[in-house]
């Protein structure tokens, strides 16, 4: 009888803890999913930045036939060929490999922080009851990484001159060739085609810049959500937290909308950055000043 009572008491106690941890589990799941979303959006933003930077050191894309013709011309024009010149012909396309590696490695290092951040919460739903303190410690990283994404958006928006180098080189080469055309009709025709190339390049460069800014802001919104969820982890119930997730995810989808006004969004997130900087609570978690 005594044994049964002891077992029942233990049973109730542990069941209670398990039930409480069950309630926390939903909240923990909300944080885990939001941290995953933050990593996905942030790595996508870094991919778009990588695209901008890689384009800045790109070489013109040419068909195999054009490459072949170029080699033939160079071989005919050159009186003697030595091993150095042969290496130049073989490695002509690799001229930007070093620059591309610098870009890849630089961005991969930044990317690691976001993977590391996401990985913190991987087993949170299973440890929701005992991990409260650890979750609280993670808050400052959510804030700092959010600020990083706002900084990147501001950098691209106000400092970074987008330049698709390979395509600019091609256009200049076409202009130089067209300039030497003696037939005025043909010259005009070539220039018209070049003008079309220039307008298309202008559009593509502008779009790539806007895409990168919008993606950084999407990531910043996802980061802000994680920071809010962590801050309210102990205060709000699972439903409230899930509502925050749903609202924020909805806003992130809206940012993807092609018609988004980049200037207005930048202003909105600048004001978020100011709020974080001036908020006595957030401010203490912030490591560095914000770039504006």
């Amino acid at each position: 009888m005594r044994k049964r009572r002891i077992l029942s008491f233990n049973h109730l106690l542990i069941l209670l803890i398990v039930l409480i941890s069950g309630c926390n589990e939903e909240k923990a799941e909300a944080i885990k999913v939001s941290a995953e979303k933050f990593r996905i959006e942030a790595t996508s933003a870094l991919e778009k930045i990588n695209y901008l930077m890689s384009q800045s050191v790109s070489t013109p894309s040419e068909s195999n036939q054009t490459k072949l013709d170029n080699i033939v011309e160079l071989l005919i024009a050159e009186e003697t060929i030595n091993s150095e010149k042969l290496s130049e012909l073989i490695a002509a396309e690799d001229i930007n490999v070093g620059a591309l590696t610098i870009i890849d490695e630089g961005l991969q290092k930044i990317e690691r922080s976001y993977y590391q951040f996401e990985s913190m919460f991987r087993s949170l739903p299973r440890g929701s009851y005992f991990a409260k303190n650890a979750v609280a410690k993670a808050e400052k990283f959510a804030i700092n990484l959010t600020m990083e994404m706002i900084n990147f958006a501001n950098f691209i928006h106000s400092k970074y001159p987008v330049q698709f180098t390979g395509r600019r080189i091609s256009i200049l080469e076409k202009i130089n060739a067209a300039k030497s055309e003696t037939n005025p009709e043909l010259k005009k025709k070539y220039m018209k085609l070049i003008a079309e190339d220039i307008m298309l390049l202008r559009l593509d460069e502008r779009k790539a810049k806007e895409d990168a800014i919008l993606q950084c802001l999407k990531a910043a919104e996802a980061g802000k959500l994680v920071a809010n969820l962590i801050r309210d982890y102990g205060k709000l119930n699972a439903n409230d937290l899930l509502n925050s997730v749903s609202t924020s995810f909805g806003f992130i989808s809206e940012i993807s909308n092609q018609n988004q006004d980049v200037e207005n969004l930048i202003k909105k997130f600048d004001s978020l950055a100011t709020t974080i900087r001036e908020d006595p609570y957030w401010n203490t978690l912030l490591d560095e000043p914000i770039i504006q």
């Binding site: 542990i14 930045i49 620059a99 591309l100 991987r122 979750v135 400092k159 180098t165 080469e173």
Partner: protein, 97 residues
């Protein structure tokens, strides 16, 4: 215009002009120009990364700190898993007594 933006623009324009010249040069000239062009490409890439990194807040030490927090949460999960297993076992035994 911001100094960094101006520098990036100048480097970008120099790169385009140099590459146009390189591509229209003879093979001998290309061999001579290649190291300069490669260096400019790498400097241009490194400068862009350096400017972007001015916006980076997270330090290497903090990456380590995140690893520690992950371990803490993982160990909380193990503890909770164990507790759940005990609860299940206790419930099972209670029904048998």
């Amino acid at each position: 215009m911001d100094k960094d933006t101006e520098m990036l623009k100048k480097m970008g324009n120099a790169l385009v002009d140099l590459e146009v010249k390189y591509r229209s040069s003879s093979l001998s000239d290309r061999v001579a120009m290649r190291p300069v062009l490669q260096e400019l490409l790498e400097d241009y890439a490194a400068y862009q990364i350096r400017l972007l990194k001015e916006g980076v807040i997270t330090t290497d030490e903090e990456l380590q700190e995140m690893t520690e927090i992950r371990k803490e949460i993982d160990s909380a999960a193990k503890k909770q898993d164990l507790l759940k297993a005990i609860a299940r076992t206790t419930a099972f035994i209670a029904t048998k007594i």
